[in-house]
């Protein structure tokens, strides 16, 4: 056993590799996060690092979230030959800042960047001279060769993906960044490498993905335009992964991060058959749509009752048919109220039996171009009808790559730029939108008007006061 004086600082561990993967996010999000969602881990990073390591390509890890200053990051990224980054639109600002710092410190180093922003806004990525190689699309089929010999590829590389998620290895979650500081870990009860609880279920939280691509065409998202169709991860593989995580780390609850979990009825029926019998039937968060709830109500109810689906994320977005049409949601007010009434009824029934009722994670959008006050009032009325709900309210944001976003950018109406793609809730995003009205709305100023159209409101204005979240 080695003894050290209490004040002896152990030497900084020697790098295991000359290749560094940089996890991206706002400075300090793993040091002193304002909430649990800032601490969600990057599944793309996890998958690609796992593939690299399994193929003999070791990488070190740093994170913009694990430092509180760029100077602190600089000390960690000096001395590497290659920097890898998975760049989303909202992490584009820290990505290119980190790239500039890396090149100053390592002039001969190469930077390889991929991720969603490379796919939806390649021109912005290409405009950053520090990005030596930019990979569009999925990376799992190309990452090993690209990292081994990046100069064999053109500057803009087309990624190669698997045909099915069944081909993906299980993410080695120890390759994710760690929370910093014992106070942070204690505050969030964070048992890394699983993730901390965020109010959707008890920790430790196992997050995973069972499917890629929501095939619908909502114009604020439109990921179907960019991500190729892919076979869903087999139910047995998902169950094996959860049981592995439980054996090794202890699972408290699950978050299924699929863009659209409630699709593919054949898969869901197998899930209903196997998940309750082959796992500890942890409660989970997963996403659906109001029109699919209305299309398959029995399947939806069975998932809630039999598989413990307890936090139901639905992109209601608006309570107004006008706005739902503008967003190309292909759902109606009637679809939304059907889903709300059904979940309210199931919740009442479960509660009467002494069981935990399901709760909505209700995605709501305000500040949509063309929205009138009455549209917003209808949305708040709809929200008030949900008996059990976590409201997730954000201002509409015209992200590049989304159909409406591209059109608004072309019209010169977007207030977003590559310097402020950050997902801050209060940011004004579109010209011509009266954001003061929305701030007053969320402060409860119009509650009388909202309640005029409500027979029996479940909630008062406290439901949405101060409830703006990051878009």
């Amino acid at each position: 056993m080695t003894f050290t004086w209490p004040w002896f600082k152990p030497a900084k561990p020697q790098p295991a590799s000359k290749i560094l993967w940089l996890d991206l996010g706002d400075l300090g999000d793993l040091v002193n996060p304002s909430g649990p969602h800032e601490q969600w881990q990057d599944h793309g990073l996890g998958l690609l690092r796992t593939i690299l390591h399994q193929n003999g390509v070791q990488t070190d890890l740093a994170s913009t979230r694990a430092v509180t200053s760029w100077e602190q990051l600089a000390r960690q990224i000096k001395g590497y030959d290659m920097l890898l980054m998975n760049v989303r639109s909202y992490t584009f600002p820290p990505a290119y800042k980190a790239a500039q710092i890396f090149k100053e410190l390592n002039p001969a180093g190469l930077i390889v960047a991929g991720g969603m922003h490379a796919t939806v806004a390649p021109d912005e990525m290409l405009a950053i001279p520090e990005f030596d190689r930019i990979c569009q699309g999925p990376g799992e089929g190309i990452i090993v060769d690209l990292v081994k010999d990046p100069l064999a590829y053109p500057r803009l590389v087309q990624g190669v993906g698997a045909k099915s998620m069944a081909e993906w290895p299980m993410i080695d979650r120890t390759l994710w960044p760690q929370p910093q500081g014992w106070r942070n870990k204690r505050r969030w009860h964070w048992k890394w490498p699983l993730e901390p609880a965020c109010g959707w279920g008890p920790g430790p939280v196992a997050t995973l993905i069972t499917s890629r691509v929501c095939p619908w065409q909502c114009v604020f998202c439109n990921e179907n335009s960019y991500i190729p169709n892919m076979g869903r991860k087999p139910v047995d593989q998902v169950i094996d992964e959860l049981n592995f995580l439980d054996r090794h780390y202890g699972v408290g609850s699950v978050v299924i991060h699929d863009s659209m979990f409630f699709q593919n009825p054949t898969w869901l029926k197998e899930w209903i058959e196997k998940y309750p019998r082959k796992t500890k039937r942890w409660t989970y968060w997963a996403a659906g749509r109001a029109d699919t709830v209305r299309q398959w109500p029995d399947l939806f109810e069975a998932l809630i009752r039999e598989t413990n689906w307890r936090t139901i994320s639905i992109g209601f977005e608006s309570g107004s048919d006008r706005m739902l049409r503008l967003l190309n949601k292909e759902c109606t007010e009637e679809d939304n109220y059907f889903a709300i009434d059904l979940v309210n009824r199931i919740g009442d029934d479960l509660e009467a039996k002494g069981e935990q009722p399901p709760k909505f994670w209700s995605n709501i959008m305000l500040g949509i171009p063309g929205e009138q006050p009455e549209d917003a009032f209808k949305t708040m009325r709809m929200l008030k009808q949900m008996k059990r709900v976590f409201p997730s309210i954000a201002f509409y944001a015209p992200y590049p790559g989304s159909a409406l976003g591209n059109q608004l950018i072309a019209e010169g109406k977007s207030l977003m730029s590559k310097e402020n793609y950050h997902r801050f809730p209060d940011d004004e995003k579109v010209k011509g939108v009266n954001y003061q009205f929305y701030r007053e709305l969320l402060a409860g100023k119009y509650d009388a008007e909202i309640n005029e159209g409500v027979d029996a409101a479940m909630h008062g204005a406290e439901l949405y006061q101060g409830a703006l979240v990051k878009a």
Binding site: V120, W216, Q217, V219, N222, N224, S225, Y226, R289, D291, R294, Q295, D321, R322, L324, R325, L326, N328, E330, C331, T332, D335, P369, G370, G401, A403, L404, N406, Q407, I409, A410, E411
Partner: protein, 68 residues
């Protein structure tokens, strides 16, 4: 109007400026009505209503540079 009973399609309408305007709906006429929700009368008057193509949403990125 759910996606099962009334699917939507994407259209690119010609603009008098030579650019294109993205719209979507159950039909070209419906798509123009949806545009009317957020565009001014002046902006609508720039659209050449009978000149449009229907596009697959996966092809949308090809036309981003032509939008106006």
């Amino acid at each position: 109007m759910s996606s099962f009973s009334s699917p939507h399609f994407m259209y690119l309408f010609a603009l008098k400026s030579g650019k294109k305007k993205l719209a979507y709906g159950q039909s070209p006429a419906d798509a123009l009505e949806i545009l009317r929700i957020r565009l001014s009368e002046q902006e609508m008057s720039e659209i050449v209503a009978d000149q449009f193509i229907k596009i697959n949403q996966r092809d949308l990125q090809q036309y981003v540079g032509e939008l106006g």
